[in-house]
Amino acid sequence: MELVKTYLLPVLFAFVASGGFAVIYNIHGSGILICAFGGALGWLAYLASAPILQSEISQSFVAAIVISAYSEWMARVRKCPVTGYLLVAFFPLVPGGGIYYTMEHAINGEISLFLSSFLQTLGIAGALAVGVLLVSSAVRMWGNYHHRRALTRKREERQ
């Protein structure tokens, strides 16, 4: 029961919510399922890494890496841009709560709480960006490596 409450339900909600946003961003057909599954997978990574990392920022970083790897893979499989999948699957990780609480502390005049939640929100956003970047750079380097090797091999064959 505990397992259902901490893992299954949030992941299920992330799945449904990502599916909804896939429709809002005009994704059709099986793309919706792929996006929804990406959202669920990202949140599962976030939750599963909690006992080890115990920090929202590092957990977001791990989840970002998992989602980007998944989207790059799906983009290769379906031969279409990564953007769509990445965009929607990220929704559950976006610090919407962070922005809201930052704002609430600001209008209540709680300066130190405001600053700490503001920095926390920025930190999560930064962790997401770095996670995406790490994977997309690695994929590009891998692609270039193969491209270069193919070129050298062709040159050797010619000689």
């Binding site: 339900l9 949030p10 909600f13 992330a14 449904v16 919510a17 599916g19 909804g20 946003f21 429709v23 809002i24 961003y25 005009n26 994704i27 059709h28 793309g31 031969k79 279409c80 841009p81 953007t83 769509g84 965009l87 990220f90 929704f91 559950p92 990780l93 976006v94 610090p95 919407g96 709560g97 922005i99 809201y100 930052t102 704002m103 609430e104 600001a106 209008i107 956003a125 930064g126 997401l128 960006a129 770095v130 995406v132 970047l133 997309s136 750079s137």
Partner: protein, 255 residues
């Protein structure tokens, strides 16, 4: 070959990609690859979020340039995929210009879009699921769905009225937060902050911010910085809209 028409074709394809929300590097690469595929050796596209400049030198040595201004636009993944497919197909085997132009126009004319009720249902489902996701109860989810519907209607109406981006987020946030606080006051909702956060997910600029950082790291500084400014301003307008609603209800009900 008619290089004027080729230049226009490449620029219009880039315009379509950018308009449907493609990243800067994708637009630049697509234009360059297309021109290379048609035999232009030197092609230099320069793209920032609201402008495309394509300059190339024909094999006869004549330089030519085209500029297109990009108005404010949203994201349409289906359109993006189809423009991208067209670009790939043309790069693989360059079709005659007339045919390529016709295929480009066909994509622009035959957009696949969801019917309005389906789109609104998606707003309801997504917001309700996010309310549950952030720890709301089932009754909160119902309110979250209603707030999501309000945001969807407000965004569609204001897009139709060509309202600017920041005002749109501010009004959307204010309407949904007012509705959430009202529903909680009436007794339908239980945790107003969970409802507000769940519905706000449709407005929060997390995606723009992440894309902006990707652009910066890819070396497109101008694009990245203007998108970061966009994300920060949108975030501030969402916060302002919500703050406005909270302030008003506190004043009215003294909560």
């Amino acid at each position: 070959m008619d290089y004027d028409r080729l230049l226009s074709l490449a620029t219009d394809l880039g315009y379509g990609l950018l308009e449907s929300g493609a990243e800067i590097y994708r637009v630049e690469e697509s234009i360059q690859r297309l021109l290379h595929a048609y035999g232009v050796v030197q092609a230099d596209p320069f793209v920032i979020p609201n402008c495309i400049i394509v300059s190339m030198v024909t094999p006869e040595g004549e330089p030519m340039t085209r500029v297109r201004r990009m108005p404010s636009h949203g994201t349409d993944v289906d359109l993006l995929e189809r423009y991208n497919d067209l670009c790939r197909a043309l790069c693989r085997e360059p079709a005659p210009l007339a045919e390529a132009e016709e295929r480009l126009r066909w994509i622009g004319r035959h957009r696949r879009e969801y019917a309005m009720p389906v789109l609104m249902a998606a707003y309801v489902v997504a917001s309700a699921a996010f309310t549950l996701f952030f720890g709301g109860t089932l009754r909160d989810a119902l309110c979250g769905g209603l707030c999501g519907l309000a945001i969807g209607v407000a965004l569609t109406a204001m897009t139709w009225l060509k309202t600017n981006l920041f005002f749109k987020s501010m009004i959307g946030a204010a309407i949904s937060a007012l509705l959430a606080l009202g529903l909680t006051h009436v007794g339908l909702g239980q945790h107003s902050e969970k409802i507000i956060i769940g519905a706000l997910m449709a407005l929060v600029p997390g995606i723009i911010f992440t894309n902006a950082i990707r652009d910066v790291m890819a070396g497109d500084m101008v694009a990245g910085i203007s998108k970061i400014a966009d994300a920060l301003l949108t975030g501030v307008s969402v916060a302002l809209g919500t703050a406005f609603a909270l302030g008003i209800t506190r004043f009215l009900w003294g909560v």
